[in-house]
């Protein structure tokens, strides 16, 4: 077991090697066979997965694990940045989540991308992402996190823009990267500020700058040096990173557009791993955020709003992937909300469960889309349960899980809700419950529209291959049981609750609010299910006609708000169109006509002076002669005058 802990660097190193091998192999055309790329990718991830499992087991057995190793990477003056690896319970959990989901999605991708001419490129990007994500998880310090934070960003950029010949994909990739850069900007400035306000302490006592293990002390020093206001700004800067990466409002718009990428990517990066990295970073930076209650409150409200608004948008989406994307956004909001109110373990727990079931949901949608020849609109689906039962039932499991109907989502969501309840955050609790209701509604809506009723599309249907369905089944298992597994009910057989598990990383206990809340949330979820069923399930639609027909007209404004995504995109476009670009245009014109104009004016004025003087040059030799002689006489005269005086 020690072996795996000590050689944890293998986990990110293998994908890196995989990436390089595919890159050079393809660049010099050493091989054509698709299976070599696949084997390099899957093999590296599989070994990583084995390592991760052993590391997780080790961590479960030794809850105090905190192994660190640092290599000095950049050294200039008092700047000493290191990279390395840190294994503790949190990292172990993330490692397992990332490697297991990656592994399954890579296998699935083989089926999904087999016909694509960019197969090798796809897998190269995929291992690159794997490398970055795993290194991000293993980061020992904030600086390293920043490095891999950007690298996962760029992998995401590459994969969203995988089909770069589609204008919409190119646009979406660019948008994702730029919005993430806004977060990176905040993270960078926040990091620098944190470092600056505690610089003497770092340089005098620590070998590794910005190490997570000692971030708490540095944070309190920074608070003392900077004062609460500046410290708050600093923490908001740091928070900006997770806000962008985890698609929190107002930087969430890129996530829905990111669905332009291949569906396995949506599952892996934009649902399960990378977007959750924001929450992971919040967890890592928890000692800093904790110091400022205002920032925690801001975090909680950002989370709550993000849980709510995307949920309302998801209600009206007809694109199955967009619907899932907004659902992801909303669930990430849940996690940030949990973090913001101090429910540390609940947030991370939800991260883990969500990763599994959301990845599975996306893969299911991918299977559907693939089978229907790239049809993504749910209005042209329906009745697919009979044609692909495996996909339908796994999708149902995912739906139940995310709705909090007894499967894994129930446990994690319940943990968040009960924290809200015990801390007496009434308004936030109400928002969370409404969101839970909406979550159930739109998830079942998508399920019913896709799998129940009659087939409404025209596309020719072909069955998904085994490569694609097997990962679904495998993923369904953790989606169903992982919540229960770590809920603390199995303490007797040696599996501690998740709460206990992450306690060693950051000592905050989860709250338990008794039986009232679980029942309440179950009822709400059932209500959502019923509403969805009434409207969209053919077996219940008889009720719909009598009760709800008139309602639709009355809520038109709300409907419009929802279908237009609360006008966030339009607002951004306006901002760019009427603020950023005019500034740029103005500066560009200023540059061209004022600055360069002045320069050219200097040149022109010289030219015109020359022109004026050249009037003397009339071509007549005698004029030149008389000028010369006149000057000669004048000089002599002056000399005489000087002699006289």
């Amino acid at each position: 077991m020690e072996f795996f802990i000590n050689n944890v660097w293998v986990i990110p190193a293998l994908p890196l090697w995989g990436f390089l091998l595919i890159l050079f192999g393809r660049a010099f055309n050493f091989y054509q066979n698709k299976y070599i790329s696949l084997a390099l990718t899957v093999g590296s991830t599989f070994i990583g997965f084995i390592f991760s499992i052993f590391i997780l087991l080790y961590c479960i057995n030794n809850p105090e694990t905190n192994t660190r190793y640092n290599i000095l990477w950049l050294d200039a003056g008092n700047l000493k940045f290191s990279v390395g690896w840190l294994v503790d319970n949190l990292a172990a959990m993330m490692l397992v989540v990332v490697t297991s989901i990656s592994l399954l999605i890579q296998i699935y991708s083989h089926g999904y991308m087999e016909q694509d001419k960019g197969y090798h490129r796809f897998f190269a990007y995929l291992v690159l992402f794997n490398f970055s994500m795993l290194a991000l998880v293993l980061s020992t310090n904030l600086f390293q996190t920043y490095i891999f934070w950007e690298l996962v960003g760029v992998s995401s950029y590459l994969l969203i823009g995988f089909w770069f010949d589609r204008p919409s994909a190119a646009q979406a990739a660019k948008k994702a990267f730029i919005i993430n850069r806004i977060g990176d900007f905040g993270l960078l400035v926040g990091t620098l500020a944190l470092l600056f306000y505690s610089l003497n302490w770092w340089t005098s006592t620590q070998n590794v700058l910005l190490e997570f293990a000692t971030l708490g002390q540095a944070g309190s020093l920074a608070l003392a040096n900077a004062g609460p206001v500046l410290f708050g700004l600093l923490a908001i800067g740091l928070l900006l990173g997770p806000i962008a990466k985890s698609a929190q409002i107002p930087l969430h718009t890129w996530l829905a557009d990111a669905m332009e990428g291949p569906t396995p990517i949506s599952a892996l990066i934009h649902a399960a791993t990378m977007v959750a990295a924001g929450v992971y970073l919040i967890a890592r930076l928890y000692p800093v955020f904790e110091l400022s209650t205002q920032v925690m409150t801001i975090m909680a409200w950002v989370g709550a709003i993000t849980a709510f608004i995307p949920a309302t948008i998801a209600i009206t989406q007809t694109d199955i992937k967009k619907c899932l994307a907004y659902s992801t956004c909303s669930q990430l909001g849940y996690m940030v909300l949990a973090m913001g109110i101090g429910a540390y373990s609940a947030g991370l727990f939800h991260l883990m469960t969500h990763a599994y079931f959301k990845a599975m949901l996306f893969l299911c949608s991918g299977a559907v889309i693939h089978s229907l020849a790239d049809q993504q609109d749910m209005r042209y689906m329906g009745g697919l349960r009979k044609k692909m039962p495996t996909v339908a039932y796994t999708y149902l499991i995912g739906t139940l899980a995310i709705s909090g109907l007894l499967l894994s989502g129930f446990w994690s969501k319940e943990a968040i809700l009960s924290s809200l309840y015990t801390q007496g955050k009434g308004l936030l609790l109400v928002i969370a419950l409404i969101t839970a209701f909406m979550t159930t509604y739109y998830m079942f809506r998508s399920y019913f529209m896709t799998f129940e009723g009659e087939y409404r599309g025209k596309a020719h249907f072909h069955k998904p291959s085994k490569v694609m369905t097997v990962p679904l089944i495998v993923l369904a298992i953790p989606s169903a049981i992982i919540g229960f597994l770590f809920s603390g009910s199995l303490k007797s057989i040696g599996i501690e609750s998740f709460d206990r598990f992450v306690f060693n990383v950051h000592a905050i206990h989860g709250d338990h609010g008794g039986l009232f809340l679980p029942i309440c949330s179950l009822i709400i979820a059932l209500l959502g299910f019923l509403l969805a069923g009434v409207i969209y399930w053919d077996k219940l639609t008889s009720l719909y006609c009598s009760c709800f027909k008139n309602i639709q007209k009355q809520i038109t404004p709300l409907y419009k708000l929802s279908i237009n995504k609360w006008y966030f995109d339009d607002f951004n476009n306006l901002l760019i169109k009427y603020l950023i670009l005019p500034i740029s245009e103005f500066l560009s014109i200023f540059d061209k006509y004022v600055i360069d104009g002045l320069v050219n004016l200097c040149g022109l004025s010289t030219l015109y002076k020359g022109k004026a003087l050249s009037l003397l040059q009339n071509g007549n030799v005698q004029t030149y002669l008389v000028t010369a002689l006149l000057s000669f006489v004048a000089i002599i005269m002056v000399m005489i005058l000087i002699y006289i005086v």
Binding site: S614, Q617, G619, N620, Q622, Y624, V626
Partner: protein, 103 residues
């Protein structure tokens, strides 16, 4: 009143200034050449005068005057050749027509 160096020099000065005047105000190119000859002659008078009053033993001034005469002959020959060549192109001896030097 004794006839001295100054008289000759004055004569040469008058001649020189006349030459300059002619050089600048003439329009006919031939006349410009004539003015140049006048200038050179003024110089020759000076040389001869100095030779006579200061250095009659070696008469260096006269030798230089001879050189100047030779060069003047060369100059006028070339100048007139050039004039003829130019005239062939422009059909004019008016200096106002030759303004290729205009900037």
């Amino acid at each position: 009143m004794e006839l001295g160096l100054a008289h000759y020099l004055t004569l040469a000065a008058i001649l020189f200034c006349t030459g300059i005047l002619g050089l600048i105000i003439s329009r006919n190119i031939v006349k410009i050449l004539i003015s140049i000859e006048i200038l050179l002659n003024a110089v020759n008078i000076n040389f001869a005068a100095f030779a006579n009053f200061a250095d009659l033993d070696e008469a260096k001034g006269q030798i230089f005057a001879i050189f100047i005469m030779a060069i003047a002959a060369a100059e006028i020959a070339l100048g007139l050749a050039i004039l003829i060549a130019c005239y062939r192109n422009r059909h004019s001896v008016d200096i106002e027509d030759y303004t290729s030097l205009k900037g």
